[in-house]
Symmetry: C2
Subunit: 144 residues, 2 copies
């Protein structure tokens, strides 16, 4: 009978990635609840705070999300008053997303979140920096 050591859960890279990703989102939840944002809505707003205005296409490239995911997220964020959606005059296919004043104000209320998250992750800074670096390396070498 084969042992299949390489098929054990703890020997995979995928499984801890999957678990850690969900766990981090879980940590954000109480902080994001105060802003009435889900995690996906939050990273969308982070992109908007950085760029003020983006096409849906550009937003998808930044967040690695397709229109099937983004369309409802953007409609929800518009309903909440944080962004506006309007077709480009130059190219009617393109949907331009713009940060509203209310969306911009939200950044102030989100400013404390990164530090609050940092405090509940009990790892030393060096390990966190290494982890950060390796995840970006993984993204750069593995995507597309």
């Amino acid at each position: 009978m084969a042992n299949y050591e390489q098929l054990r859960l703890r020997n995979q890279l995928c499984f801890p990635l999957y678990v850690c990703s969900k766990e981090v989102v879980r940590k954000y939840k109480p902080l994001l609840d105060e802003l009435d944002l889900t995690y996906t809505q939050y990273i969308t707003m982070m992109a908007m705070w950085e760029h003020q205005q983006l096409s849906a296409k550009e937003l998808g490239n930044i967040l690695y999300l397709d229109s099937g995911t983004l369309t409802p997220v953007l409609k929800t964020l518009e309903k909440k008053g944080f962004v506006e959606r309007q077709r480009s005059k130059d190219d009617e296919r393109s949907l331009i997303i713009s940060l509203t004043p209310e969306g911009s104000d939200l950044q102030d209320r989100a400013a404390h979140i990164p530090e609050a998250i940092g405090k509940c992750i009990d790892m030393d800074l060096e390990d966190l920096q290494t982890l950060h670096r390796l995840l970006h390396k993984f993204m750069d070498t593995s995507i597309k």
Copy 2:
């Protein structure tokens, strides 16, 4: 006007975790399609291959999934013939999940997957080992 450097997407730990996790699942997809498994079904089968028999509760603890997620996954895996679901005689509340012979056979057909995934991740072994170690450290220090 504030700069909010700490709110930039690329300075977060959560975002690369989220992107890498989804990206890895995407890499599994063509391999898992051949076995008619989704990623969640695959990690469930990995746990079953290791243990042959587990309660739904134990499975949830291993996979970090609750009954809301697991119940439909287990019903699907039963429909595909890879596991059996039956109430415990000792405790009718408990649902015992057992690997079927078909489920066991599936392990042979999955045996090549870890190596195939390894080949399409273009990072050196040392970085991958460090990443693996730090993700487990993160799980150990951050969950519960």
